[in-house]
C-alpha cells in the first residue's frame, strides 16, 4: 500500500509526530510562531479521546502537562521565546520531579517580545540554562518538515525513557515552511513507553534507584500512591535535606542523560571526509550551509558540514575529533554566538572558529557562508 503523503507545515508535522508517539494531552497557551501546533492538537486530540486545554498562561500550561504526565499520559506543550521564559520555573520542576514531557519551542527573535514573526536560533542556551540549578537537558534542532515529525517522535521516546523534559526547537523557518512529508506507518518508527513499576503498590517508591538511574514511574490515580515535590526528595518522594543523599541524587539526575549521550546525540556529516573547513550548523541555517558546501566544492574548496540534530547534550566528542582534522570551523547561526561558544569549548584551540551571526530577522543565506569559506580556507 502506498504511504500517505502530504504537503505539510513544520508545526503541523510536529503535532502529527506527537500523535504518532501516542500523545494524549496538550496543555498550552498559543503564541506566534508556534500556534499551529496547538491548532492541530485541538482538532485531533478530542477525536482520539485525548484532552486539549488552553491554560491562562504559559506557566499554567507547563503545570498542566506535568500533572497530566503524572497520570501516565504522554504530554506536549508548544510555545515560543517569551513563553519559554515563563515556563522555566516549571521546567525545573519537571526535571527534579523526573516527569516526562515534550516542549516544542519555535525560535523567534528575542529577548522579550522581540520579533514575533522573524526567525531566530537564540533560545538554544535557554534550553539548557533557562531553569536554575543543575539538571539534565535534551534539546533537538530539526531542519526539515519530515525531520520535525520524526524528531518529535524521538523527543517523546527520550522523555519517557529518561523521565525528563525534552525540547524540540525548530527555528521559525523550519516551523513555518511547507514541504512534502511521507507519513511513517504505525510501527515503522520506534515508540517507547515509560517503565511501569514491577513491585506491589505498598512497596512502590517513585525514586527507587535500586532499579537504576531511571526509576519506574507509576500513574497517579492508579493503585500506586506517591508524593511529588519540587524539593530535593528521598526515594519515597518526600522532602529531604540529607546531604549525602541530595548530592548523590543531583548527580544521578544529570548522569541519566550525560552517561547516555551515545543513545541521545544524533548528527549528520556531509562531505567531511577530506574537509579542511567544517561548517557546524543546525536548523534552517544548516540548509544554507549545505548549499554553500556544494558551491564551495564546485570551486574546488574542501568544505564540509557537521549538522547538529541534537543540540543538548552537545556533540562534544564529535566536535573535538573534528577539531584535530580541520583547519577551521565556521559557525553560522541566527544569534550572536551561542553554538559558536560551544564549538570553541570543544575545539580547545586546535582549530580556529569563525562565527557568522544574524539577529535581524533574516536568514543566513548561502552566499554569506560561501564568502566566509573562501576567506578562511
Amino acid at each position: 500500500m502506498a504511504k500517505k503523503v502530504a504537503f505539510l507545515q513544520g508545526n503541523e508535522a510536529a503535532a502529527q509526530g506527537a500523535l504518532y508517539a501516542g500523545c494524549t494531552f496538550f496543555g498550552g497557551y498559543p503564541i506566534t510562531p508556534s500556534t499551529e501546533v496547538a491548532e492541530v492538537m485541538s482538532v485531533e486530540l478530542p477525536k482520539i479521546g485525548g484532552k486539549f486545554i488552553q491554560m491562562e498562561d504559559e506557566i499554567g500550561a507547563m503545570a498542566s502537562v506535568i500533572g497530566a504526565s503524572l497520570t501516565g499520559a504522554k504530554v506536549l506543550t508548544a510555545t515560543s521565546g517569551p513563553g519559554l521564559s515563563l515556563k522555566q520555573e516549571l521546567i525545573g520542576y519537571a526535571c527534579i520531579a523526573e516527569t516526562p514531557c515534550v516542549i516544542v519551542n519555535v525560535m523567534r527573535g528575542g529577548p522579550s517580545t522581540g520579533m514575533p514573526t522573524g526567525p531566530s536560533q537564540s533560545d538554544v542556551m535557554c534550553a539548557k540554562w533557562g531553569t536554575h540549578g543543575d539538571h539534565p537537558a535534551i534539546c533537538l534542532t530539526p531542519a526539515s518538515v519530515q525531520e520535525l515529525f520524526e524528531e518529535t517522535v524521538r523527543a517523546f521516546n527520550l522523555a519517557e525513557k529518561y523521565r525528563t523534559p525534552v525540547m524540540v526547537m525548530p527555528d521559525e523557518i523550519v516551523a513555518h515552511m511547507r514541504e512534502r512529508i511521507v507519513f511513517p506507518e504505525p510501527g515503522e518508527l520506534e515508540v517507547i513507553n515509560r517503565t511501569a513499576p514491577s513491585v506491589a503498590p505498598a512497596e512502590y517508591k517513585p525514586y527507587d534507584t535500586s532499579f537504576g538511574d531511571v526509576p519506574p514511574l507509576a500513574a497517579f490515580g492508579s493503585d500506586y500512591r506517591f508524593h511529588v515535590t519540587g524539593l530535593n526528595k528521598g526515594q519515597d518522594g518526600f522532602p529531604t535535606t540529607k546531604a549525602a543523599w541530595v548530592q548523590a541524587e543531583e548527580e544521578r539526575q544529570v548522569r541519566k542523560v550525560e552517561a547516555n549521550v551515545d543513545d541521545i546525540v544524533q548528527f549528520e556529516e556531509y562531505e567531511l571526509a577530506d574537509a579542511e573547513v567544517a561548517i557546524v550548523a543546525y536548523g534552517s541555517t544548516s540548509r544554507s550551509a549545505r548549499f554553500a558546501v556544494n558551491e564551495a566544492r564546485k570551486q574546488g574548496i574542501k568544505a564540509g558540514l557537521f549538522r547538529i540534530k541534537t543540540f543538548w547534550p552537545f556533540p562534544e566528542k564529535q566536535i573535538a575529533a573534528l577539531a584535530g582534522k580541520v583547519k577551521a570551523f565556521i559557525t553560522p547561526e541566527m544569534n550572536l554566538g551561542m553554538c559558536t561558544g560551544e564549538v570553541k569549548r570543544c575545539a580547545e584551540g586546535k582549530a580556529a572558529v569563525h562565527g557568522i551571526f544574524r539577529v535581524d530577522g533574516e536568514p543566513i543565506n548561502p552566499g554569506q557562508i560561501l564568502e566566509k569559506i573562501k576567506e578562511v580556507k
Binding site: F7, P116, I173, H176, R287, S288, R290, P366
Partner: protein, 182 residues
C-alpha cells in the same frame, strides 16, 4: 529542469498570497512529482503590510528554502514591487497588477501587466479570488508546474461551494496572462 526555480508571490497581508504559494508548491510536489518548498515572511499585523510567499521548485533535493535569485515575481501592490524586486534575475518573469503598480520596477525583465484584482472583482465576480487569478497567471508564465496539476491543487484546497468560482478565477488568470504576454 534540474536547477532550482524560485518564485515569489508578494503583495499586502490578507490578499491570500501565502495560500497562492502553498497551492503552487502542492501542484509541484504532490501532483507533478517534483521537489518543492514553500516559505513565507510577513509582519505582525494580520492585514496590510508587505507580505511574501516563496516557492522553490526543483527536480533534486532543495537545501536552502528561501529565494536566492528569483526567477519569477508577482507583485500585487506598489510597496511589494518596490520592496521585493531587487533580487529578480535578469530576464526573469515580473507579473504586476497594472492598476496598482504604477512605478514598474526597472530592469531587464519579462514584464507582464494586467488588472489582476479588477479581473477578480468584475470578471470572475469576487475580489477574494484575486490570489487564484494571480496563481493562474503565474502558472501560465512560469511553466514550472503543469496546468492540470495546478488546477487539481486549487480544487483540493477549496470548499465544495466555491469550486466553480475558483476554477473560473484560475482559468481567467491563465488566459489573461497568456494574452498579455503575446
Amino acid at each position: 529542469m534540474s536547477q532550482r526555480y524560485e518564485i515569489r508571490f508578494s503583495g499586502a497581508g490578507g490578499q491570500g498570497l501565502i495560500l497562492a504559494g502553498v497551492i503552487m508548491a502542492e501542484a509541484a510536489s504532490i501532483y507533478d512529482g517534483k521537489q518543492a518548498v514553500q516559505s513565507q515572511s510577513y509582519g505582525p499585523e494580520a492585514r496590510g503590510g508587505a507580505s511574501k510567499s516563496e516557492v522553490i521548485v526543483s527536480d533534486t533535493m532543495i537545501d536552502y528554502p528561501k529565494a536566492t535569485v528569483v526567477d519569477a515575481l508577482l507583485a500585487l501592490t506598489q510597496e511589494a514591487a518596490d520592496k521585493y524586486s531587487h533580487d529578480l534575475k535578469e530576464g526573469g518573469v515580473l507579473l504586476i497588477d497594472s492598476d496598482l503598480v504604477k512605478n514598474v520596477p526597472k530592469g531587464n525583465f519579462n514584464t507582464v501587466a494586467f488588472p489582476i484584482i479588477n479581473t477578480a472583482k468584475n470578471e470572475v465576480g469576487r475580489e477574494i479570488v484575486a490570489n487564484i487569478v494571480a496563481l493562474g497567471a503565474m502558472v501560465a508564465l512560469t511553466g514550472v508546474v503543469t496546468k492540470e496539476g495546478a488546477e487539481k491543487a486549487v480544487l483540493a484546497r477549496v470548499p465544495e461551494a466555491f469550486m466553480e468560482l475558483n476554477k473560473k478565477a484560475f482559468q481567467m488568470g491563465y488566459e489573461k496572462a497568456m494574452a498579455a504576454r503575446a
